[in-house]
Structures are given as structure tokens and as C-alpha cells.
């Protein structure tokens, strides 16, 4: 029996059902499946930075964006509410200079163009040395941090857990290592989707005093002339191409040079060039030379800025301050860099100059801030991101007002990087990058409870601070792959003169970063750029060979208490093995 009407209702119902399904699916998609469409943090102390703190307020977030902020804000009923009682909400912190996100340090790179080292890479074997600026040694300005991001870089998470939601990610190797990117420190299927802005800046590295025969340029004066020559060439290229394009016939075509093209774009777009300078001499040198490039520029490092604040202010340049303040070397290790260890006779102490520097460096942010300089902070190679906050706390103790410190970590950094219209403060319309703490963000016992990156909620695991004392304690669990390289290793390798040994005393941080020393009959050297990723590790040391500093790179694999790998000395490769005592090392760990 056929019921009249059903025939018409059913298709309508089905159509409605389809529409509903489609709408739900679409809505869900928009709300990013599995996430609530709205978040709200209620009854929290809010520090917007762009305005006065709100003692008891509410923030509403949706679709990655801050929708509302205030003392009395209506919260949508479907919002997931976080009770902010007793908590403080800050804008997400910005690390204005880091290689977070770039993953493990790569094996020694020849750099762009012909080998010339530059950056911190050793020479790859059989790569011709750079014989002048035209060879563009270690110059890859077309590289971009956005294209180098590695989702498996454990530091993205550890930085975020400490409250950093954004970083200016700077490529590592070379005089012109590539362009930096402002990256949000979230987790996403495609890590590069986290890029907020790029190109954000063009960093320059200056090494000073490498081995004379590792190609041009080797001395600092050569490097300075090289940087200037590159910018001169780019300006010539712009001029030449303009004239050529206006009338190509009958003219010799200007030779193409990819570096010239990229740098000429940097100049045309008024991109920020980052010039390094740590000591007062280097800072004054930067102020003298950087303007000759004809570009907008910023100073990075500036740890001795306390000595020359007025000169920096007069130069009208923003400063990315490296807050990894110099610390006394671990007992028995070499003093920091090459500046210390001056004592004659028995006692090895650092020089008075070094002591004064270490004492005064944390006062640099206060001095620059007082002189009206725009500042932001770089983590400067710390392994534990919480140390960056401790370092900033030291500057506050040394005279930097706390709100100026917070500003430098948030809106100030965003302003320098040209993203203050979308980041850096808690205002409606800005990206929802927030950090929610249970206390003052600069207090040591404060914990980060929640972090929002692009409006997505992350909950940091409870903090178990690795016992730092003595530097020898590893922690159970080891690096991301489960291995822990901490301990004392005996290394054996074959040289042309016969078998040789060395001792490696290593400490591994929870995120897989390695530190420590290598000792042999040739002396003791500190590790740099040490990392463990899964079973694979690498680290480097600097050694004097023929009176020149050479970087020696170790890479290999670990299995339990055995390691095997390769040592690269200026292109010359040696195999090595290493072992650590079976039970003694384990027993030291807590």
C-alpha cells in the first residue's frame, strides 16, 4: 500500500539530513575536528602588555584568534572553560633568535657555493676552497628557515612548555645562512604551516680567526670585506639590470648571480639585516660598518651593551640581546670561550676583565632600555628554555623593570619583527598565543599550566627538573630515542701515527642536547652543537692544528654502552669506537 505524501516528504527529509550532515561536517571542520569551537579562560589575572593588567578577567578564543578580553566578557555556552582562578595569563613569549625547530645539527656542510667553511662547518673533503668573494663561500641567502623546519625537533615542545609560543628561527651555517622566519611553536601535520612570517630578517654570521687556509675569507677583516662586497655587488646588479632591461640590445648581459638577486630583494623590501656584536668593540664596529650596507639593520648579541648604551641609542637600531649570560666554567673545564684562564703560576682564574664582564652583562637590558633602545631577547643556545626566563630574571634583578622585560619578550619583539599587528599582546583580533601560569612568569617556582599556540591548547607535563648539580647526572629515560649518552666514555681511533685514545665526559639534557668535554693528550675541549636523535649523535669540538682553529666533528650511533662513528678533521675522516663502564655510569644517575 502506498501512502500518499511519503513520496514527497522522504526526499525532503533526506535532503535536509544531507544538508545537516554537510553543515555539521563543515562546521566541525572549521572548528578543527576534535577541538571546542571556543575556549575561555575565566577569572584570571590578565597581563595584555598593550594595556594595564586586568586583575580579574576573561579571555575568549576562537579559530586561533583572541575574540574578547576584559573584566566582563560574555562567554559562549559551548566554550570549553578553563578556570583561571589564581592564574596569570600572558601573551605567548617570543624567542627572538634561535635554531629551535631546525632539528639535529647536520653533518659538516660545504655550505653554499664552493666550500669555504664559513658558518661553523668544517671543510668537506675534496671541495675546492673559495678563492675570493666571487666564489660566494658559505653563502645561501635564498635558503629560508621555513623550509628547514623539522617536526621531530624536541625543542619545539620544550620551548613551548616553558611559555614560548613564537620564535624567530635563524638558519645556522654560513656567512649568509639564509633568511629567518617567525614561527609559532605548535604541533601541526605540516610544521611549515606554523610559519607566521618570512622572510623576517637576513642574519649575517661573522666568525673571526679561522684557519688561514680554509678558503676565503679566513680572518675577521676578510669576512667584513666579504659582507660589504656582497652588498656592493647586489647594488651593482640592481643598477645594471635596470639599465639592461631598459635597453638590452647591443649590451653585454650582466652576469647572473643568485646571491645578488636575493640581496637586491632584501634591499628593495627594506628587510632587516641582523649584524652580530657581543663586546663593546664589536658593537661599535657594527654601528660603524653595518650602515655601509645600505640596509635596515638590527644588532644581535650585545652582551656588553651596558658599556655603550648611548652609542647604540644614537644609532637608532633595535637590539636582539643574547640573554645566555656568560657563566663561570664548570670546575675543571676550560673557561668560557677563550677569554678566561689568565692566571700565572698556580691558580687558574679568569682575568679581571672577564670577571667584570660576567658581573655586568645582565645589566645590559636595563642600560639599553633606559637609553630608549628597542630590545628583544634571544635564548642564545641554552638547552633548558626555562633558563632563558631565569636569565631575564637576572636582568630584572640588575635593574630592568619587570614590565619592560615582559614587553621585550612579547610586544617589543613583535614590533621589531614587524608582526605586532598580529602577535605579542592580548588584544581582540590578535593570534591566540597565550601562556597561563600559576604565578609571576619570572619567578622560579612558577609553573606553566596551559599554553595556547594559534588558539590550540597545549598542556605542559608536570615539571621534573633534571638534577643539574655536578653536571654528571643524566636522568632515567635518556633522549628522545630512549638512549642517554651521559657518562664517561673512552674513545679509541686509528691515526696515521698509530692507535690513540681520548676521554669524553658527556652530559645529556632531557631534550637530547649534549654538552661536556673531550680530553686527550692534545688537551681538553668543550663540546659544541651536541645532539642525540634516536640512536644517532653528533658533536663538535675546536682544536688547534698548525696554529689554526679547526673544527673537529664527531658523528655516530649509540647502542647501550657502546658507540661507533666517524671523526672529521678538516675533511680527513677517522673511524672511532667508544665504550662506557657498564654499571658505574648507571649508578650515578638519579
Amino acid at each position: 500500500m502506498r501512502v500518499r505524501g511519503v513520496g514527497r516528504i522522504l526526499p525532503a527529509l533526506m535532503a535536509a539530513a544531507c544538508a545537516l550532515i554537510v553543515w555539521v561536517v563543515v562546521a566541525a571542520h572549521h572548528a578543527r575536528a576534535d577541538e571546542p569551537p571556543f575556549f575561555a579562560i575565566k577569572n584570571a589575572r590578565i597581563v595584555p602588555v598593550s594595556g594595564p593588567p586586568i586583575p580579574n578577567g576573561t579571555i575568549v578564543i576562537s579559530r586561533g584568534v583572541i575574540q574578547a578580553v576584559g573584566a566582563n566578557v560574555s562567554v559562549p555556552p559551548e566554550a570549553r572553560v578553563i578556570d583561571g582562578a589564581g592564574m596569570t595569563v600572558y601573551p605567548g613569549l617570543v624567542d627572538a633568535g634561535s635554531d629551535v625547530g631546525l632539528g639535529a645539527v647536520a653533518a659538516p656542510v660545504a655550505g653554499g657555493g664552493r666550500g669555504g667553511g664559513g658558518g661553523r662547518g668544517a671543510i668537506a673533503a675534496n671541495v675546492p676552497l673559495s678563492m675570493g668573494p666571487e666564489d660566494r663561500p658559505a653563502t645561501t641567502p635564498w635558503e629560508n628557515a621555513a623550509g628547514m623546519l623539522h617536526s621531530d625537533d624536541a625543542r619545539i615542545e620544550s620551548w613551548r612548555n616553558a611559555g614560548f609560543t613564537t620564535a624567530l628561527v635563524i638558519p645556522r651555517t654560513g656567512y649568509f645562512p639564509g633568511q629567518a622566519a617567525v614561527v609559532d611553536l605548535g604541533t601541526a601535520e605540516r610544521t611549515e604551516s606554523l610559519v607566521v612570517k618570512t622572510p623576517a630578517a637576513l642574519p649575517i654570521n661573522l666568525q673571526g680567526g679561522r684557519g688561514e687556509y680554509q678558503g676565503f675569507p679566513s680572518a675577521l677583516m676578510g669576512q667584513l670585506s666579504y659582507v660589504r662586497q656582497v652588498f656592493i655587488d647586489a647594488q651593482w646588479y640592481t643598477q645594471a639590470m635596470q639599465a639592461y632591461e631598459a635597453h638590452p640590445q647591443g649590451r653585454e648581459r650582466p652576469a647572473y648571480d643568485h646571491t645578488d638577486v636575493v640581496i637586491s630583494h632584501v634591499l628593495a623590501n627594506k628587510e632587516l639585516v641582523i649584524w652580530p656584536g657581543e663586546t663593546d668593540t664589536q658593537i661599535l664596529r657594527a654601528i660603524r660598518l653595518a650602515p655601509t650596507l645600505g640596509a635596515r639593520w638590527a644588532l644581535s648579541g650585545a652582551q656588553q651593551g651596558y658599556a655603550v648604551p648611548n652609542e647604540i641609542a644614537a644609532a637608532n637600531v633595535p637590539v636582539f640581546i643574547n640573554v645566555n649570560w656568560p657563566a663561570p666554567a664548570a670546575a675543571g673545564g676550560a673557561a668560557g670561550g677563550r677569554g678566561g684562564g689568565g692566571g700565572r703560576g698556580g691558580e687558574e682564574t679568569d682575568t679581571l676583565r672577564t670577571l667584570r664582564f660576567r658581573d655586568r652583562a645582565p645589566s645590559t637590558p636595563a642600560a639599553l632600555n633606559k637609553a630608549g633602545v628597542k630590545i628583544a631577547f634571544m635564548s642564545g643556545g641554552v638547552t633548558n628554555p626555562k633558563d632563558t626566563l631565569r636569565n631575564v630574571a637576572k636582568s630584572i634583578a640588575a635593574g630592568l623593570p619587570a614590565d619592560a622585560a615582559l614587553r621585550a619578550l612579547t610586544l617589543g619583539a613583535a614590533e621589531i619583527l614587524g608582526v605586532s599587528d598580529r602577535l605579542g599582546s592580548i588584544e581582540p583580533g590578535k593570534i591566540a598565543n597565550l601562556v597561563v601560569t600559576d604565578g609571576d612568569i619570572f619567578a622560579d617556582r612558577t609553573n606553566v599550566k596551559y599554553v595556547f599556540v594559534d588558539g590550540k591548547l597545549y598542556i605542559p607535563p608536570p615539571v621534573v627538573e633534571a638534577p643539574g648539580g655536578g653536571g654528571r647526572g643524566g636522568r632515567g629515560g635518556g633522549g628522545p630515542g630512549g638512549e642517554d649518552l651521559s657518562g664517561t666514555w673512552t674513545l679509541t681511533f686509528q691515526t696515521e701515527q698509530g692507535p690513540d685514545t681520548a676521554t669524553a665526559v658527556l652530559q645529556m639534557a632531557p631534550d637530547g642536547t649534549l654538552g661536556g668535554t673531550i680530553s686527550s693528550h692534545m688537551g681538553t675541549a668543550q663540546l659544541t652543537r651536541g645532539r642525540l636523535n634516536g640512536q644517532s649523535f653528533q658533536f663538535s669540538i675546536s682544536m688547534q692544528i698548525n696554529g689554526a682553529d679547526m673544527q673537529v666533528d664527531f658523528s655516530g650511533k649509540v647502542a647501550g654502552n657502546q658507540i661507533t662513528g666517524t671523526i672529521n678533521v678538516g675533511g680527513y675522516m677517522l673511524d672511532f669506537t667508544g665504550s662506557r663502564p657498564n654499571s658505574g655510569g648507571e649508578g650515578v644517575r638519579q
Binding site: I123, L129, P133, R210, E212, Y213, G215, F216, S218, L220, M221, G222, Q223, S225, Y226, Q229, Q239, A240, A243, A246, R251, T279, T281, Q282, L284, R285, R288, L289, Q303, Q304, P326, A327, P328, A330, A335, G336, G339, R344, T349, D350, T351, L352, R353, T354, R356, D359, G380, T383, G468, G471, R472, Q507, T513, G516, T528, N546, A548, G570, G571, Y572
Partner: protein
């Protein structure tokens, strides 16, 4: 490493030098504060004044006003507000001018990677915090010709500085002094003495002919570069539109300046044959070499040097530390001077620079130079060589007040620097240096204690990885001659 075989006739000289150096060395670990004794008017009174160019004045005085020598004489009346330095029993000489120095350079003395590194400029890397500046001040040095090393046939551009310890780099540069460029001939630029690193291509040249070729090649390119720019400028001035300019080349520009007489050439050299080669090549290209540095076989070709008009800046008595130094003799300075060459004695070394006065004295023993002529070797002669003799090099009214107060005749083995004055300011004061040491030691202890407590308070943070922030205490780099 070079072998130094010095002719040490007088052990006492050595002993005194060691004692003086130890005294300074201990002080080195805690530098005096940068505040200098500055004064508008200063009177140095009652000393033996060795003017170098205008004779010697016993029991004389010098009045300094606004950094210049205002009066020199036996009886000077100073205004009541003048700072008075009582130099009774002392000797005052012009400040020591070191014509070959590698102090105050940051990040490497040699851009040794390429055969011609004239694009590098010492001016860019002057490091005013190098402790060697202070050490050399303590040895009486007031002006230094800071040079690129000798790893290349054509090295980097060079700068003359005054050792104004405590001031920033910009204030160290000797304003108005002609800039220079370093050449090098012989074993160093041909890299006779380097270990070959496996896998690394050896840089050209490897022979003396190659060294000459580098110089010729670079200057041929410079001549062409100059012509290109002259052509372009002429056409532009004539109103040509839409021209593509030649590329600016930072390497060739200083060489063009040499061709135009706007930059001095200071050439490190040893053997007579290469010395003559360089003079010939310079004549061919139409430029003048200003000074020959080391020039240990200069005595063999002194006539040619005098005829050419080049200055010679040499060691007192170093010899035999490498093959090309085998024929060096301590009579070199006197023999060249006798033939009319302007001769200076130089150091090439921060330690040697602290006793150039005594090195000059050796020309009295080796060659019979007179006392007053030997004084010229480290004062007016290097000033003439550097083109700054209108400002420094002797004690004359109107010149800069760059002076050294010694407790004995500077040519005596007993002479120890008491004060070093530049532009009328006391930059080194021996008594003050010694008096300040306890205070500095206390400050140092206090800082060490403060750090120890801070570290203990944090529960021993252990091996903290060092950030890029290195202490500014510079390391003395391995230096070429």
C-alpha cells in the same frame, strides 16, 4: 715557530728587561681603570730633554697645552693651575714610534686564504682592548703602524694608531695619517714553512717568482680597473645616459690608491734580490714603495735604497731564524744609515716593542752610530717613514705632546719607562700602576667571591653550555711577521 737567536752582549740588559716585564706582567692580570689623568696644562719640569731634532736640554722643562707642546726650554713659567710632573733626574724623549706592529687586531692578523687580500682592512678590526696596547705603552710606545701579516704577497690595508688605551677603536686611529697596505716577499708569502693539510689545495704562490707574479698581476688588474672607471666617469660627465657602471671591487680599489700615491706601501722583505725586484716592479707600474720592512739584507743594497728613496724599518740584531735571515748582521741599521737611507728599528712583536729604545742603542755598538742618531731610529725616522713627522717624532713646539719619561737615558740598559704621555695625557704611569694593584686585586677577589656564592646558591648548576657571549679578554693571535 721561528728560532730567535739574539746577540746578547749584556746580561744585565736582559735581566732588567725581564724584571721590568715581570713587573708589568703581574699588573697585566688586573688592568688599571680606564680613567686617565687628563689635564689642560701640564708642566714636566727639570729633566734632561732629548728633543732629537733640536739638541739636548739639561735641567729643562716642557709646557703642554691642549695636547700640544707649547714651550720647551731651561726656564719655563707655568700657570698656577697647571699639573706639574716633577721629572728631576729623569730623561724625556719623544714617544716611541713602532713602524711594524700587530697589536690591537681582532680576529686574525692574516687574511691568508688568497694571494692578494687587499680587500681586507686592519682599520675594520682594530681592537682597543688588546692588553698588548697597555704593555707597549709601558715600554714607551705612543704610535704604532698596525700591519696585516706577511702571509700574502699583497696583504690587507694598514692603519697607524696612537696607543690611547681606554678609548674606543675610532679614537685610536691616528687622524690624518696616510693609510697603508702591506706587501710581503720571500718565504712567508710563498708558504715555505707550513705543514700541508691533507685534502686542502695549497694556495699560490710557492716560489719567489710566483710572489712577483702576484704583484704584477694584481697591479695590471688595478691599472685596467682604474681605466674602466675613468672611462665611465668621463662618459657620465659628458652626459651619456643609461650607462652600466663598472663593478666596484674592494680588492682593486686600494691598489688604485697606491697607483695614485694615496696609500703607502710597506713591504716585508729579506733578501737583496727580492728587494731589488720590488723596486723594479714599482718603477714599472709607476708607484713608490714607502718602506721596506725587516729588509735584513738591506745593507747589501743600501746605495740602491738611498737612490730610490725608500725607508728601511728593520730589526736590531735578529738573524738565522729562517734561511732568508742567514745573512742578517747587526750592522744593518748603521750601514744603511751611512748610505743615507732613513732607517727605523721596529718590533714586529708586542714584547720586543717594549724595549725599542735599547734595540736602537745596539747601533752604537754595531756600526758606531752616534747617540743622537741612534735616538732617531725609534722617534723622528719612523715618523718620517709614516708621513707624520709634522705631528710627532721629536720634541718641538707645536708638535703633539707624545712623550716618554725614563729614569735613565733611553739608550741605557738601565732605562725603565716611568710615564708615557700621548696628546698631553698620561696613559701609563708606573707608580700609579703599582699603587692600583691592591685595589684591583681586591675587586677581583670580590667578584670571584660573588660568583662563588651565586653558584653555590643555585645548587651547583654544573657545566652550563656557554652562549656566544665570550669575555672580551682577547687572546693574542698567532702572528706573522
Amino acid at each position: 715557530m721561528r728560532q730567535r737567536t739574539k746577540l746578547r752582549n749584556n746580561k744585565l740588559a736582559f735581566a732588567f728587561a725581564v724584571v721590568a716585564l715581570c713587573a708589568v706582567a703581574v699588573g697585566v692580570s688586573s688592568w688599571p681603570s680606564r680613567a686617565q689623568a687628563t689635564s689642560n696644562v701640564t708642566l714636566i719640569k727639570n729633566a734632561t730633554i732629548l728633543t732629537v731634532t733640536k739638541g739636548t736640554i739639561k735641567n729643562g722643562s716642557i709646557l703642554i697645552r691642549d695636547g700640544k707642546i707649547a714651550e720647551v726650554g731651561a726656564n719655563i713659567h707655568a700657570p698656577s693651575d697647571a699639573t706639574v710632573i716633577d721629572a728631576t733626574g729623569m730623561f724625556v724623549s719623544p714617544g716611541v714610534i713602532d713602524c711594524h706592529s700587530h697589536i690591537a687586531i681582532e680576529g686574525g692578523v692574516n687574511e691568508g686564504s688568497v694571494s692578494d687580500s687587499s680587500m681586507a682592512n686592519i682599520r675594520d678590526v682594530i681592537n682597543p682592548e688588546d692588553p698588548d696596547i697597555y704593555r707597549d705603552l709601558a715600554g714607551g710606545v705612543t704610535v704604532a703602524n698596525v700591519l696585516h701579516g706577511s702571509a700574502n704577497a699583497i696583504g690587507g690595508q694598514t692603519t697607524v694608531i696612537k696607543l690611547r688605551w681606554g678609548l674606543p677603536a675610532d679614537k685610536l686611529v691616528f687622524e690624518g695619517a696616510m693609510p697603508g697596505i702591506k706587501f710581503a716577499l720571500g718565504e712567508n708569502p710563498k708558504r715555505s714553512n707550513t705543514t700541508i693539510i691533507p685534502g686542502v689545495v695549497r694556495r699560490y704562490p710557492a716560489t719567489r717568482e710566483g710572489v712577483e707574479d702576484v704583484i704584477r698581476q694584481s697591479f695590471a688588474e688595478a691599472v685596467d680597473y682604474k681605466k674602466q672607471w675613468d672611462d665611465y666617469n668621463r662618459r657620465k660627465a659628458a652626459g651619456d645616459q643609461n650607462l652600466i657602471p663598472p663593478r666596484r671591487d674592494l680588492r682593486l680599489e686600494p691598489l688604485v690608491e697606491v697607483l695614485e700615491g694615496k696609500r703607502y706601501v710597506h713591504a716585508h722583505c729579506y733578501r737583496a734580490d727580492e728587494i731589488l725586484m720590488l723596486l723594479r716592479v714599482s718603477n714599472e707600474f709607476g708607484f713608490k714603495v714607502r718602506t721596506l720592512q725587516h729588509v735584513l739584507e738591506g745593507y747589501k743594497v743600501a746605495k740602491e735604497l738611498a737612490a730610490y728613496g725608500v725607508g728601511a724599518s728593520t730589526f736590531s740584531d735578529w738573524w738565522s731564524y729562517k734561511l732568508e735571515a742567514f745573512d742578517a748582521i747587526p750592522y744593518n741599521m748603521a750601514l744603511m744609515a751611512q748610505k743615507g737611507v732613513i732607517v727605523s728599528v721596529n718590533s714586529d712583536d708586542a714584547e720586543e716593542a717594549t724595549h725599542l729604545n735599547q734595540e736602537a742603542a745596539k747601533a752604537i755598538k754595531y756600526g758606531g752610530m752616534s747617540h743622537d742618531d741612534a735616538m732617531k731610529l725609534f722617534t723622528i725616522n719612523p715618523a718620517i717613514q709614516l708621513g707624520i713627522e709634522n705631528r710627532v717624532g721629536s720634541i718641538e713646539v707645536g708638535k703633539d705632546a707624545d712623550l716618554v719619561i725614563y729614569n735613565h737615558d733611553p739608550l741605557s740598559v738601565y732605562a725603565v719607562v716611568q710615564k708615557t704621555i700621548i696628546d698631553g695625557n698620561v696613559y701609563f704611569d708606573r707608580d700609579r700602576d703599582i699603587a692600583m694593584r691592591p685595589e684591583l686585586a681586591k675587586e677581583k677577589q670580590a667578584l670571584i667571591e660573588k660568583e662563588r656564592q651565586a653558584t653555590a646558591g643555585r645548587g651547583g648548576r654544573g657545566a652550563q653550555p656557554q652562549g656566544p657571549g665570550r669575555g672580551p679578554g682577547s687572546t693574542i693571535e698567532d702572528r706573522e711577521e
